[in-house]
Symmetry: C2
Subunit: 345 residues, 2 copies
DNA sequence: ACGGGTTGTGCAAACGGTTTACCAACTGAA
DNA sequence: TTCAGTTGGTAAACCGTTTGCACAACCCGT
């Protein structure tokens, strides 16, 4: 049905091997033959069959990933979309495609990975998340299969991964609030088991320490990456005899919960409470007031992961296993003008 | 390196063909042999090579799609993420994976499609968008290659597609406002060239007509799917001598522009102006007040598209080429209690 | 005991490429 | 003239599966 290398060969009066060599720019093919064959290829509309090519070359030019299961977190959709855009764009630039597969549960997922790896469907894998002692990572390491993790894997420092410097990011966010004149700053954290929570808390600590500011344990609360957590944290803070005047908040969605609660209680942002969140989701610009946030470069995370993986596949060794994607402060209304009001302007 | 069908055959003392038949549950393989071979497969950790299998069977069990290029519209990320989740989940249920590829420009994209189709990398394609007289669609039809479009294609009624009933959706949104006691209802539209804009406007018209309500052309404004468009529309409406008391707005992001503008001018939603948007993006719940919206079932759109495509690939004929995904009214604060305030409650 | 239908399995030819080994013809230097 | 070294190309093996055809062994009714 489809036109094969043999059809081209026959029409050009050469052998299939010659056509193959033309395709791969083999040095020992004459200019003349090459041009002749290429013309015939165009004429016949030849396009090489990737399956056949993969079979013999053992390369698929495909990166695999598994679709993260729908998480409760609102942030997920944004992260997922931006991330995949970064991954796919970079892959495309290097001639790779991205294969996505889904699993309804853990064993499904494991089976999917097995299928991709052992079935030789992909050349490498990008993981969008990991658990402690992740069996998927164990599997991939055992088979010495190329993969890159977005995030970080405590158990094994040799795992290739790309991540943010969350300590520094929180440090910067906190410092920004300090620079706005705040001295009483609280922190709304996520689940304490997550390394993001730990790292951001640490950055917050360091910034306060550097400026010799008071750090009260009651100004640190933990929650989920949900709006409700923000709402609850806000209620708590506002009930304190000595309130913070600004908050560093683990995630934008949580920040929205805080903002909403404040509005309901008749307080205003940033005058009564200045806030800054993390992740810079698109809604930050739309809220009233617009929310200051740390942009963690989600697209870039995907982009770099893709790049690292392709290098790894092609045998380049990485100088170090971890790549850090820089973050950016996106300062908006929610964390500005505090001083202005205080000083009566 | 990897364990092949031959290794299994050798160890089991049978021929490769027998192993292959065990794999495909061929009826004429004895229970005995089947079990023996299966044991050996487990023992050796055998997994069949998809490339080889595809080569001979001419099936890849893969659906292809091209990554939409970053659009200006905020809504895109949410749509993309939900959509792909639907597509991939349904695909996985049927044993298919999804291959994503990206193109930086039109010709890139065309080349990518060619690669997937002619290179026999996928069994079918899902298109997330289309242009008028889309060359990609022309190409696919010419090659009689299975594909499904999310959206609709005016030029060819035979194209398989899945879409919403936007006329009905806008009808329902408008009717809802009417049921809340509004009689002066405006419409904020998108680019008039898009069929979404046309259809939603039509639904709005029909609802007003059914209730014999006044339809003033100055109560209909066009814009982009951007916040600014909403802001501008709002300014315009509020400057009119005879203002609408409620708005049907083509998109949630636009609605946020309206809400923000109203807040800035000291008006309040829904008391001064009730609004309802489309698409039900996640922020709708987070805004103050929460925004009423029409949920167009984005996940479902992807899910159905995937299903249609797989059926088409497997040779099932569809009763009709278009599938309509039902929409749902998500009523929130922004379009409620209008009457209540009017009557002084 | 014999032919005809099942059953269970092996052989070998695809599928569409790549790649190794090999060869013929042409250089050019000794 | 001869021999070694290029240059341009062919033939055949191979990648891992599937599958049509052949065939032996059995089962059953006559």
């Amino acid at each position: 049905m489809a036109v094969t290398i043999k059809d081209v060969a026959k029409k050009a009066g050469v052998s299939p091997s010659t056509v193959s060599r033309v395709l791969s720019n083999h040095p020992r093919i004459s200019k003349e033959t090459s041009i002749k064959v290429k013309n015939i290829m165009n004429e016949l509309g030849y396009h090489s069959n990737m399956m056949a090519r993969s079979l013999v070359s053992n390369k698929t030019y495909t990166l695999g990933m598994i679709l993260p299961r729908p998480a409760e977190e609102l942030f997920q959709n944004h992260f997922f979309a931006e991330n995949i855009r970064g991954i796919t764009t970079q892959a495309a630039r290097n001639g790779y495609d991205v294969l996505m597969t889904a699993g309804a549960n853990d064993s499904d997922e494991m089976e999917a990975i097995t299928r991709l790896v052992l079935g030789r469907r992909v050349d490498g894998i990008i993981l969008l998340q990991s658990r402690k002692h992740d069996p998927i990572i164990t599997f991939l390491r055992e088979h010495d299969f190329p993969f890159v993790l977005i995030g970080r894997y405590e158990e094994d420092p040799n795992v290739l991964c790309v991540d943010n410097d969350n300590i520094q990011a929180a440090f910067d966010a906190t410092s920004h609030l300090i620079s706005q004149g705040h001295t009483r700053i609280g922190f709304v954290s996520g689940p304490p088991s997550l390394s993001v929570s730990q790292d951001r808390l640490e950055g917050y600590r360091q910034a306060l320490a550097e400026h010799q500011l008071q750090m009260k344990s009651e100004w640190i609360v933990e929650g989920e990456f949900l709006q409700e957590s923000g709402y609850r944290a806000m209620s708590f803070f506002m009930s304190l005899p000595e309130r913070p005047t600004a908050l560093v908040i683990i995630d934008d969605v949580v920040s929205f919960g805080v903002m909403r609660g404040l509005t309901e209680l008749g307080y205003s942002v940033p005058e009564d409470l200045s806030i800054i969140g993390f992740n810079n989701i698109s809604l930050t610009e739309l809220s009233t007031p617009p929310l200051s946030s740390i942009d963690i470069g989600i697209y870039q995370l995907g982009y770099m992961a893709s790049q690292m993986l392709i290098k790894r596949i092609q045998g380049e060794t990485q100088p170090q296993p971890r790549t850090i994607v820089p973050h950016r402060l996106m300062i908006r209304e929610s964390s500005l003008h505090y001083k202005a009001k205080r000083s009566g302007v």
